[in-house]
């Protein structure tokens, strides 16, 4: 398939047609209702795209259940030589930690195919040749990824039970060799960690402030939405008056990192997600192809509502709908 790749006219910047014919175009004035992808559109996408980036919840699985047909779809894509990445802003686990979840769901995935924001933090530090220590507000995933990159770190779960009494004369020491604070979701956030991170950022010259993401809420249990890493980042931003460098979605670091590693251009990548305002917007901002699946939070009604200005290149009821072109795609490849 890679050898068959040929230049295709880009729809980006093109005049928006009155009705989409062969593929959906990224245009806020797209005709409504926005049609589901035809087999022709699916085949064209498979021809021009070398790498798929998948949001997981609502795309690969729903809660603790894999969406029917997803394993076969992934097999088809891999069989065509496509690269796949599974992206999550959840930083509590490392890529190896996520492997367990994928395997428990019966999904055959390599650790290298998982792109967690915990990994993004370590990859970012590696990309700038960082050689100091990292103070972590966050959970085990970040520490494990830093460890794999050989980056010295402190904080994280080890500081979960530390308390600050604020007795008269109390002074908190901090390590002057900390050159970056990485902030990820931390269910054990406490004042000790907040103060330690604040001291590093305010007092260590040039200390970086890195956030895995700033998501307001996260789905840590199926039962309800939980305050996300926006809280932990907000706490450190509030005491330092500094804005962080975000390495997870919707920043473009992950995208640049993937492009650099695989030697691809954004036009050769497709972002597949179930959220218009995060996944699809992230893809469009980065110049990627975008595919919205309707198996997650976005309904066709929301997609076609007058208030929605985010139009994906392709709309699929669910990811396994790509299987309708399996035979044709394999022949083409």
């Amino acid at each position: 398939m890679r050898s068959l790749q040929r230049p295709l006219p880009s729809a980006r910047g093109a005049v928006c047609p009155r009705r989409p014919v062969h593929r959906m175009v990224s245009c806020s004035a797209a005709a409504r209702p926005i049609a589901r992808a035809t087999d022709q559109q699916k085949l064209e996408l498979l021809k021009r795209v070398e790498c798929f980036i998948f949001d997981c919840d609502g795309v690969i699985w729903l809660g603790d259940k894999v969406i029917d047909g997803v394993p076969e779809t992934l097999d088809m894509l891999r069989g065509m030589g496509k690269r796949v990445f599974f992206v999550t802003n959840n930083s509590t686990k490392s890529r190896a930690g996520y492997m367990a979840k994928f395997q428990s769901l019966g999904l055959n995935v390599q650790a290298e195919e998982i792109y967690s924001s915990s990994y993004a933090a370590a990859a970012y530090l590696e990309s700038i040749n960082f050689d100091k220590k990292v103070y972590v507000v966050g959970e085990a995933g970040i520490l494990e990824e830093l460890q794999l990159k050989g980056i010295h770190h402190l904080g994280g779960p080890a500081d979960a039970d530390k308390r600050v009494t604020l007795r008269s004369g109390e002074f908190m020491e901090h390590d002057a060799e900390v050159g970056a604070v990485v902030v990820g979701f931390d269910r054990h956030i406490n004042y000790y960690k907040i103060q330690y991170a604040t001291l590093c950022i305010r007092e260590n010259p040039g200390c970086l402030f890195i956030a895995t993401n700033r998501d307001a809420v996260t789905h840590l249990t199926d039962a309800q939405e939980w305050a996300g890493n926006g809280s932990m980042v907000g706490a450190i931003a509030g005491s330092t008056k500094r804005e962080p460098t975000v390495v997870g979605k919707p920043s473009d670091f992950m995208l640049r990192n993937i492009c650099a590693r695989l030697g691809l251009r954004p036009q050769q990548i497709c972002m597949v997600g179930d959220r218009l305002d995060t996944d699809i917007m992230f893809g469009k901002n980065g110049g990627l192809n975008t595919a919205l699946v309707l198996s997650g939070v976005t309904t066709e009604e929301v997609l076609n509502s007058p208030g929605n200005t985010v139009v994906p290149d392709l709309v699929l009821p669910k990811l396994p709908d790509l299987l309708s072109v399996r035979e044709a795609a394999v022949v083409a490849a």
Copy 2:
């Protein structure tokens, strides 16, 4: 003294004179160096001002030591019929709680003369006839002030040791009758409190989000600066994507509240502080008279530096310098 009050030409909005003659004017192009107040200027201030609002640290005390002459100065002002307020953004204590600190320093102060941000939160809720429950992220001071106003509350220190495990299916209940979340400094901030506050603000229709202040750092011990309530507020703002109503400095609620209670206009009030960018700016934004004391963080060099555009109406080496006009002031009163 009250009966002697007479209209004085206001310098606000006036053309900035080349050199100030009788009083410092609020003008960024004021002649430099900015002179210390003359006795004539002090007397004029005492004539036109009915109420003094004092920042405490650097004005009334330094660390744990009262500045020499402050008790006598306060006696003089009270003897002239002036009202005095001691303002602090620290919400950890109630006004009654602060009484202990004042008394331990030998200062004779009434609880009603203390305006802590814990009190400001309760006074704000009272001013809008709030009749629901309050969830508190913060310490005892806020709860005590809410109690005095008869406002139902939950959270605060009672939630200090609560933990969230995020086990599969975990769901946190919250009280649907909470109509406001008040966030003050909390050394026992934890994820339980963050999530509870987030649920109230996100899920209870019309729920208010009130911050005692957003100070980045605070001086809870003399030994170093500590992450301030900016952290706690940032945590809740980060998960709710809501901006709080701030009731402490530098918001104008306290000022409006004092004016309403005493029936005064801003021009009859003087803000006395040691910080140009907070105290003096706060006073100027509110249309108050402003007096900078040089006994705290601001030096005459900083005051007169080309980069400083905040010019107080009056500059005093320290508050007790007002005593130089004691006899004349008492005669005039």
